[in-house]
């Protein structure tokens, strides 16, 4: 599989992270998204007609949506079925709810970050306010989840693609001026995701120290 990649984008990181967790090799083609705007060239539009980045060439189709790429990887390359439990409709619905939150975070926290990183135009205060509205929702869900013995976004013992999709947005949000200070349960969940076996970092993400003890709620 070929991943058309611009490393700083959270959505590209999501695909690289899930592929690493599933031990799926990717052939990475790095794009000069900024300042070269390579995703707007005729050559790239022949591959990905909407000019979307990332794009995942699966061999049979080019997926121009990062969440479609996550679904493809989980549906086809996860023998355990944990990342996308296709046989469990209730959990699938819950995953979809959180994928929507991840997308909303991309359009708020993510846009604020690209504004800071590469000067992409944005109504920056509106983006940050919306990001905090979403983070408050996430915090409440995770805080009550801890009390109910739920460690991940969706009910169950194992993380799902919902955790990956929301994580990549949240872990980079401070680069867009969206602080995580008010979200302690979100920070503990971040540590849980960083502690998943096979976790890989990207620029701006620190690894969980492997010698540090595993976190448990007292």
């Amino acid at each position: 599989m070929i991943l058309y990649d611009y490393p700083p984008l959270a959505e590209c990181y999501a695909v690289r992270l899930l592929a690493a967790l599933l031990d799926v090799p990717l052939e990475i083609r790095s794009l000069d998204y900024y300042p070269g705007r390579e995703h707007e060239t005729d050559e790239y539009l022949d591959i990905a007609p909407l000019g979307s980045v990332p794009a995942l060439d699966t061999g049979t189709a080019v997926l121009g949506d990062w969440q479609a790429a996550l679904i493809h990887l989980a549906a086809h390359h996860d023998a355990t079925g944990q990342w996308l439990p296709l046989g469990d409709p209730d959990r699938l619905v819950a995953i979809h709810e959180w994928l929507a939150v991840a997308r909303a975070l991309a359009h708020s926290a993510g846009v604020a970050r690209l504004h800071e990183l590469i000067g992409q135009p944005a109504v920056i205060e509106r983006c940050r306010t919306e990001a905090h509205r979403l983070l408050r929702h996430l915090e409440r869900h995770l805080w009550f989840g801890e009390r109910a013995g739920r460690r991940w976004l969706v009910e169950g013992e194992q993380p799902t693609i919902a955790d990956i999709a929301v994580f990549v947005q949240v872990i980079l949000c401070e680069e867009g001026g969206v602080s995580r200070l008010d979200y302690p349960a979100v920070r503990r969940w971040i540590d849980s995701v960083r502690g998943i076996r096979g976790f890989v970092v990207t620029s701006g993400v620190l690894p969980l120290d492997p010698t540090a003890p595993v976190h448990t709620l007292a």
Partner: protein
């Protein structure tokens, strides 16, 4: 903002699982809060004395906090620097230490003070469940006035001033089975305060 004297809750006991460094802020002072192996609650300024990097992006190793930048280590309790990897044979000067604030755990809340003479946080004698902390974009005074005007039944509330226009509502509920209900009431209070402050 001006520093408020006296004790303020800055975290819940549950916010300090082993190995985790909790980020907080009180009156514009950023804090790194973590638990030592013997249960000691460390409340430190969130700033390595070496190069000023936030302690909260570091990691915990046994009874020491390790700075992310140059891996200097600081001991639970005293805050003294115990190791400088770039100088493995030299004992760090006793002058190198984290800036400490007092940390007291009581009734499920973690309290500290930046200034003032009071020896200890208020004795509540109030067995209850800790409410979820609610951050509000308004002044601490605005929250205190609102709580005094319309007290919520079944809870004891405290205000943690974060910065001039931000504060956190913390507290305890008498009845653990009503946590979600109190949470919804506090969210309504937050929305009202933020609409008034906007």
């Amino acid at each position: 903002m001006t520093v408020r004297e006296g004790w303020h809750p800055i975290a819940a006991s549950d916010d300090l699982p082993a190995g985790h460094i909790y980020a907080a802020q009180l009156c514009d002072v950023p804090l790194a809060v973590w638990r030592g192996q013997d249960g000691t609650v460390n409340v430190w300024e969130d700033r390595c004395p070496h190069r000023g990097v936030r302690f909260t992006i570091g990691s915990i190793h046994g009874d020491e906090l390790r700075c992310q930048y140059h891996a200097w280590r600081f001991r639970s309790g005293s805050g003294a620097c115990s190791a400088i990897p770039a100088h493995p044979t030299r004992k760090p000067s006793s002058a190198i230490r984290a800036t400490l604030f007092p940390g007291v755990e009581r009734d499920g809340l973690v309290w500290t003070k930046l200034a003032g003479d009071q020896d200890a946080p208020p004795q509540l004698d109030y067995a209850g469940a800790v409410l979820r902390a609610i951050a509000v974009n308004c002044t601490a005074q605005a929250i205190e006035i609102a709580i005094a005007r319309a007290p919520l039944p079944g809870v004891r509330l405290f205000v943690q001033p974060v910065s001039f226009a931000r504060a956190v509502i913390r507290g305890l509920a008498e009845d653990v089975s009503r946590l979600a209900e109190h949470d919804a009431a506090l969210e309504r209070l937050r929305r009202g305060l933020e609409r008034a402050a906007a």
